[in-house]
């Protein structure tokens, strides 16, 4: 419990550092933040108005105070592009991104670990070499190019999957309960929209997952190989246990810690990759929002996205650290 509190305190501290960095970046680096906030076509008096409105005429430390006060209230300012408060935009775009991210996360973890196990069991055989090459290709394939290639093959050539959007516009989204189309369709028992949303989810999720799948399967292989050479594995085998029990009960459990660590890190890189994937598949989430914000240089929105992903990332890492104690009861946090 004290550990949890300390960790939370630490996260707050890190996020505070993050706000400081973003504040310095957005207020001090550009020549005139009022001009930036007012937009490129603003006239002089409009700029002055913005300067007053955001308190940009006051000293820097007071500005930082105002900025922090607004942040704590969840007020990230107004989006230059949508003309709405950024927080409203974030709420609207958050769920689709979560849906995509969760799908990709499930995919890379549930496939990556078994593939890594296969690779370790058949080490240095043909299957292992193939899987290693497959995973190196995965690490090197930029997500935005993988997305384009998949669209070309599975949409244009084969016509198996749609290339854009979350659901067939003729079917339309299911009744809004959670905002997750797949979940809502299930809850409403609407099979047509369930199929359509899964169908639309598949390509972007694969694109997003491939790189992480590669990393996780490599880590599983390496970690498992190390454990398999330990004495207790030999003992287990000598006892005459079936190979499957040795592998899954004795070896895998002890190999899980590094796998968990890398999974946490990979979820972090998913948060970055999701921007590129959403652009390519016109997925209406935070990534597309970030892209639009970047193209019109909407600093408030970009800053908000950075802070939100920072919070998400910190939360995920905390969960991973807590999972360590579940996987390995010897680990106790004080």
């Amino acid at each position: 419990m004290t550990y949890l509190l300390r960790r939370l305190g630490y996260i707050v501290l890190t996020l505070w550092g993050l706000t400081l960095i973003t504040f310095i970046l957005t207020r001090v680096v550009p020549g005139d933040p009022a001009r930036t906030a007012a937009g490129p076509q603003a006239r002089q008096e409009q700029i002055e108005q913005v300067r007053k409105m955001y308190g940009l005429d006051k000293p820097l430390w007071i500005q930082y105070g105002i900025y922090m006060r607004n942040l704590i209230r969840g007020d990230f300012g107004k989006s230059l592009w949508s003309k709405r408060p950024v927080i409203e935009d974030l709420k609207a775009y958050f769920i689709p991104t979560m849906e995509l991210g969760l799908a990709a996360g499930l995919m890379f973890f549930c496939l990556g670990v078994p593939l890594g196990i296969l690779s370790a069991v058949y080490r240095n055989r043909l299957l292992d070499h193939f899987l290693r090459f497959f995973s190196l290709v995965g690490v090197s394939f930029p997500v935005f190019i993988l997305g384009l290639v998949l669209q070309l093959v599975f949409y244009k050539l084969l016509g198996w999957f749609p290339a854009n959007g979350r659901i067939d516009p003729f079917i339309g989204p299911p009744r809004n309960i959670t905002g997750f189309y797949v979940l809502d369709s299930l809850l409403a028992g609407n099979w047509r929209s369930l199929l359509s949303s899964l169908h639309h989810l598949f390509l972007p999720a694969v694109t997003l997952a491939y790189g992480s799948l590669a990393v996780v399967s490599r880590m599983t292989r390496a970690s498992l190989l190390e454990v398999l050479s330990q004495d207790y594995v030999r003992t287990a085998r000598a006892k005459g246990l079936v190979e499957r029990a040795v592998l899954l009960k004795h070896a895998l459990r002890n190999a899980l810690i590094p796998i968990l660590t890398i999974t946490g890190l990979q979820i972090g890189s998913l948060l970055g990759g999701v921007v590129l994937v959403e652009i390519i598949f016109s997925w209406p989430g935070l990534g597309t929002y970030a892209y639009t914000a970047v193209t019109v240089l909407d600093v408030n929105a970009i800053m908000a996205i950075t802070i939100v992903t920072g919070i998400l990332y910190a939360g995920i890492n905390l969960i991973v650290d807590l999972l360590y104690t579940v996987v390995d009861p010897r680990i106790r946090y004080r």
Binding site: T14, S140, I145, A293, T306
Partner: protein
């Protein structure tokens, strides 16, 4: 050093480590192309020829032509130069910044070290692509700003590594001996601390070239890096994306160029990691 190189070479022999060797071949090939690109490119990468818009790959235009009739093959060749150059600048900048900050923390110790390391943690606390997007959006979209933005988000990795290295060197006997005979100041820092801490840093930096290329092209892809008409690979993919379904060669060839280059660096990196970390040896 020579022995080390020899050992690495032995390790990378094609018979022993075919993938690592393939990586070396790829990197050498691409670096050579980058150097001689302007001399062997069949066309000017900037020359617009509207009469030859969107021609498919042929003997005349190996990779076809883009929406302005420019030769994609020539643009990809010249793009190799841009990508490698920017990767080297990024790695150089973040490596020097990271080493300075990490080494300073390790040598100063106490609260200075604490503050510097917390700062590093804050930088590492969020996904670097998003952070790099923020920084380069604030600085304004251009290739040099994107390079700066990536370096700003990247140095903490090297700072941590450098700090660890210097800490392990700090209390070695030979440093104490050097101090005892009166070596101090800059000389102590450069010839004793840095020299002995540098090799893992340099290895790590080399391995990171692939990621630097990936990140630069990602930023260019979202419009924050190189601006048209620069033949930067990520930018070419971004501009060619709308032609994907009818004229696939426009975005796909520059995309493959990124893939092959990054793959080359990762293959070598992987082999070297196996070499330095015997646990990973298959």
């Amino acid at each position: 050093m020579r022995e080390k190189l020899h050992a690495i070479w032995k390790f990378l022999r094609p018979s022993k480590n075919p993938l690592g060797f393939l990586g070396v071949v790829l990197i050498t090939f691409i670096s050579l192309l980058a150097i001689i690109a302007p001399y062997i490119a069949p066309y000017s990468p900037y020359k617009v020829n509207l009469a030859r818009r969107l021609h498919p790959p042929s003997w005349q235009h190996l990779f076809g032509t883009d929406e302005l009739g420019r030769d994609i093959f020539s643009r990809v060749l010249v793009g190799a130069r841009i990508s490698l150059q920017s990767a080297i600048v990024i790695i150089g900048l973040s490596l020097s910044l990271g080493t300075i900050i990490g080494a300073f923390g390790a040598l100063a110790g106490g609260w200075i070290d604490d503050v510097l390391m917390r700062l590093t943690d804050a930088f590492l606390a969020f996904p670097y692509l998003i952070f790099a997007m923020l920084v380069s959006a604030v600085l304004g979209p251009s290739l040099s700003n994107a390079m700066l933005a990536i370096s700003v988000t990247w140095w903490p990795w090297y700072a941590r590594l450098a700090r660890g290295q210097i800490l392990s060197v700090k209390n070695q006997l030979y440093v104490e001996a050097a101090r005892a005979i009166g070596v101090g100041g800059m000389r102590l820092f450069f010839s004793y601390f840095l020299r002995n801490a540098l090799s893992p840093l340099v290895v790590q930096a080399t391995l990171d070239v692939g990621y630097a290329i990936l990140l630069t092209s990602s930023l260019s892809f979202v419009g924050l890096g190189a601006q048209p008409p620069t033949p930067e690979w990520g930018r070419m993919v971004a501009d060619g994306r709308q032609y994907l379904l009818s004229y696939w060669w426009v975005p796909i060839f520059p995309g493959l160029a990124i893939f092959i280059t990054v793959l080359g660096f990762n293959l070598v990196g992987d082999a070297i990691r196996d070499f330095t970390d015997p646990r990973m040896r298959g």
